[in-house]
Each structure stands twice: as C-alpha cells, then as structure tokens.
Amino acid sequence: MTAVSASVRPGRLKEFWRYFSENHGAVAGLVLFVALVIVAIAAPLFAPFNPDQQFRDVLLMPPLTRGSEGIFLLGTDALGRDILSRLIFGARFSLFIGVVVVSVSLIGGVIIGMFAGFFRGWVDTTIMRVMDVILAFPSLLLALTLVAILGPGLTNAMIAIAIVAQPHYVRLTRAAVLTERNRDYVTAARVSGAGPLWLMFVTILPNCMAPLIVQAALSFSGAILDAAALGFLGMGAQPPTPEWGTMLAEAREFITRAWWVVTFPGLAILITVLAINLMGDGLRDALDPKLKRS
C-alpha cells in the first residue's frame, strides 16, 4: 500500500468494501457489532427494567418468569434484578472499555513506535528494551498486579490493560516505519523541507495504517476479555456495576442452582468478542494485500 489514506481517495474505500463484503463472516460481525453499539447507546430504551432495581418477589428465577412487574426474559439474579436489563447496560461498559483501551494504547503505541523507528539509535534501543520488559510478563498477570497496586476499579483496570496492550502497537509501528522511511516519497518530502514531525505523522503514518487497524480490532476484543477476566477475579469493575465479568463473579456461587445467571453474561461476552474478531478477520483480509484471497 503506497497510496495515501483511504479518505483521500474514494476508490480505495470502495475497493476495501468490495473485499470486506466478500467475507460473509466479516459482514455478519459488523452487523452484530453495530447492533451492539446501538443497544449500548440506547440502553434505557431497550432495557425492560432498571438494571439495579431489586424485585424481592422474584429472587433467582429462571428465564421467562412472570413477576408482578412483567416478564423477566432471561430470569433474575440472587437479588431479584432483571438479567436482560443488566446485560443491556453492561454492553455500555464493555464497549466503553474497548474504545478507551484501544484509543489509549493505539495513540501511545503509535507515537512511541514512530519515534523508535524514525530516530533509530539509542532512542530505538531504549524503547524496544522497555517493550521487551512489558512483554516478558503474561499480560493478565501484569494487569492484575497493576490493578492491585492502583486499587480495584474500572478506570484502573482500563489503564492496566492499555499499558499491557501498548507494546504490540509500538512493535508494529516501528516495523512499518522501518520499511517506509527509506522509500522515495519520504526522501522527496524530506528534501522539499518537511520537518521530522511532519515526516513522521503526515508523510509516513498514513502508509502504516493497515496493520495497525487490524491490531486495533484484535486488541479491542482482547481488552473486553481482559477487563471481564479482571472483573471476574474481583479486580475490575466493582459490584453492583452490571459489567459482564463482574456479573459472572457474583453468579459463581449459584453455578449449581441457577444456570442462567452464569450462562447469559458469558454468552454476551462471547458474542461481542466473536463479532469483533469476525470483523477483524475481514479487515485483515481486505487491508493486507499479502493475505488477500489466500
């Protein structure tokens, strides 16, 4: 990909869409994802009940239970809260976590990786060794320890996951910059007087976007999984937040008595992550010319 970014040339976008739409799984993932985003944004419209309201007459009731207030489609939890409503509001948290983690780690990673690849020398060596250190720890363990230090909670969990996700962007950006920096168009821009910042972020960056976009999709789903895992271990969002991982943690003790409190939150995580991964696969096939049509 030696052309400039997709937004400048509509032909590129069209070509991208043609490849993307050939992949039925990817389109299905996209539709599902858009639906999730709509549900999350308009959660109060979709949710039949208030996610925190406790109906004391219907504690731990199976799906399709009819209470005095209406039907509980997916049943109720141990405090008599409607599971469907909690899941709908929980979508907000998962998507929010994904967006924040990907934005923070993408922006940070691109800037750091750009400096490493562009300046080389000791800047590069230092940055890459620091990234090696982060990568030497299993991501969940590092995130878990970071959260233990910063204190349990959603914000700290997001910070920890973003730090752990960062090195992948740094490596990808650096590798892309290394192949691009000696191309003719970069030299041309340099001799016509472009400064290093212009060269880095205006000339080179748009041509490194393809692998970064694919990685963004991958780490979006990874962030949702990690945040749910932290919530499950009691180190993420804290009860009564209807975050899906936290809901699972609360449901654990009812595992033998009430399958629905365990099944649905996990299913919500799985479907969301699956939709994003399907999209990610489609993005990779459409953006990466090497893998195209293989």
Binding site: D132, L140, W259
Partner: protein, 336 residues
C-alpha cells in the same frame, strides 16, 4: 549459530534488569510502610521499627535498595513470603510442577486436535469440514475461558457428575511426591484408581486451558498448509506419483510446521495468563492460583518474586523458541 545465541542472550540481560526494576518499583509504589505491613495489626515500638528498617535496608537510598535486591536475585534469593515465612523460590518451585503438568497437557490437547484439524481444513479447502472447523476455531479463539470453565463444570460435574470440581486428586489417595507431576506420581504409587482420579481431575482444566491455543494452532496450521500446498515442490512430489497422503503428511506438513512450532512457543504467555484463571476456578494448586492468592493476601514479597520468576520462565521459553527457529531458518539467524 553460536553468535546468534550470544546475541539473543545479550538481549536478555537488559530485559532481566528491567523486569526486576519493574517488580521492585511496583512493590515500592504501594501505599503504606513495608515494616508496618510486616508488623501487622499489633503495632510496633519505635526502637523495633528502626531496627527492622535497618535490617531490611529500608533506611538506604532507593537505588542502593535496588542494588541489594538485584544482587539477592542473582544469588537466587527471591525474598521470603509474609504469609508462610518460607523462601519464595522454594514455594514457587514446589507449586510449579502442577502448573507445568497442566500447561503441558493443555499444549498436547491443542496440538493433537489442532494440527490435524488445520491440515484437513487446508487440504479440503472450502469443504463443510473447513468451514465448520474454522468457525469453531473462531469461537474458541473468542472464548472467555473463565466462563467456559464454569459451563463445563455445570455440565460435566453438575449435571453428569463425571468429573470432580476442584483439586488435583481425590483426598482418598495419599502418596509421597516423587516428580511433582500427579499423573506420574499416581502411577508410581501403584495404588488402584489413583491414576484415574488424577486424570479425571486434570481433564476439565486441560480442555479449558487448551481451548485458545487449540483455536490458534488450528488456524495457523491451516494457513501455513495453504501456503505450502501452492509451492513447486508439492507439485513435483505429486507429479512423481507419490500418494496424496505422503505428499500432505511428509512433504507439506514438515514445512508448514515451522511457523506452527513458533506459534506454539509464543502461546506460553497466553498459557500463563490462562493458568491464572483456570487454576483459580478449579482450585488447582499451581503458581497461577498462588499469584492470585498472594495478590489478595497482600503478600507483596511473594507477588514481587513470583513476577520475576514467571517473567524469567517466559523469557527462557521465548529464547528456546528463537533458537529452534534460528536452527531451522538461517534467514532469521543472520538477521541483526
């Protein structure tokens, strides 16, 4: 090759220093006084406080404290656990065989199912098997494994009653630890039913921990096979009149396995992260559960030592994978 190994080893030194720096400052960044933490709730006299501050070296400047800590690490002293008062190194390696056994079984599970599935999917490309296998792999790859574990427990332990819910072996069996690997020790004990008990405890955690590696390996094998199957030497092998099985199993698979082996090696970090969740859910007495427990017990020396030891293991495995890769691929070896 020797130069390649040296180069890789020299990269590990700054990483190791970095890892110990991170572990050191993580713990120092914690709110609270380390000596008061050691003293517990009973409190401590000012003289005793000063003495302990001096004994643990907390009165030294921070950089000197780090040097003391780092020198200790080099001598194999990873500190002492607050809750058990045992050296962390001993504690870690008493539990490590459990994690190793589980991870090893998970990798075997993933390879035994994943490689053939990937090969068949590639050979029968676009068949129903290919589509089903790849769809399943994508689901497996997207699986929140802590939920997967709970589902399996509901079905196989709860409804069917086939497998136990937690631990490594039934409490009925007691025999001395020889290797630390329950499957081997239970066989060595010669007690009837011990091996079966160990197996039934191992099976669900193995499936849970092996699911994501299985999905990754199946996908990776398929795409590596597809690439190799298009090569000239495969056409040559076919043209020579070799049986299709021989072409696939010998000529193609051998070359496709190189990227697959790398993938397996790179799964070690994923496995360690997965072990944390799997061991916690199944009460599997390995290092993953121990780390989580230490974090919750606020046993900071244990967390610190555990972080360094786990990072060392990950670095070691990555080095071995790199060396194997360099061994089979000269291009990598000569890269700078």
């Amino acid at each position: 090759m020797f130069g390649f190994i040296l180069r890789r080893l020299s990269l590990l030194i700054p990483t190791f220093i970095g890892v110990s720096l991170v572990a050191f400052f993580f713990i120092r960044a914690l709110p609270g006084d380390p000596v008061l933490l050691l003293a517990g709730e009973r409190g401590i006299s000012p003289e005793r406080y000063a003495e302990l501050m001096h004994r643990y070296g907390f009165d030294l400047p921070l950089w000197q404290q780090f040097i003391v800590y780092f020198t200790d690490l080099l001598h194999g002293d990873f500190g002492t656990s607050i809750s058990t008062k045992k050296p962390i190194f001993t504690e870690f390696f008493t539990l490590f065989p459990a994690t190793l056994e589980l991870s090893f079984c998970a990798v075997i599970f993933a390879v035994v199912l994943g490689v053939p599935a990937g090969v068949i999917a590639a050979v029968k490309r676009n068949s129903w098997f290919d589509h089903t296998a790849m769809a399943t792999a994508l689901v497996g790859y997207s699986m929140p494994i802590f939920w997967w574990a709970l589902l399996l427990i509901i079905v196989f332990s709860g409804m069917l009653g086939w497998t136990p819910v937690s631990g490594r072996i039934s409490l009925m069996f007691f025999f001395p630890k020889v290797t630390g690997f329950m499957l081997i020790d239970s066989l060595l004990s010669g007690k009837a039913g011990a091996f079966q008990s160990a197996m039934s405890h191992l099976i669900l955690p193995t499936i849970v921990l092996g699911t994501i590696p299985l999905a990754v390996i199946a996908r990776q094998t398929r795409s590596a096979m597809l690439e190799v199957l298009g090569e000239d030497y495969i056409r040559t092998a076919k043209a020579k009149g070799l049986s299709p099985f021989r072409v696939v199993a010998v000529h193609a698979l051998r070359n496709a396995l190189i990227p697959v082996i790398t993938t397996i090696g790179l799964q070690i970090g994923v496995l360690m992260a997965g072990a944390i969740l799997t061991e916690t859910i199944f009460s599997w007495p390995g290092v993953g559960k121990w780390m989580v427990d230490s974090i919750f017990r606020r046993d900071y020396p244990a967390v610190q030592g555990g972080l360094v030891l786990i990072a060392l293991i990950v670095m070691g495995v990555n080095l071995i994978v790199d060396m194997l890769y360099g061994l089979v691929n000269p291009k990598i070896r000569h890269q700078r």
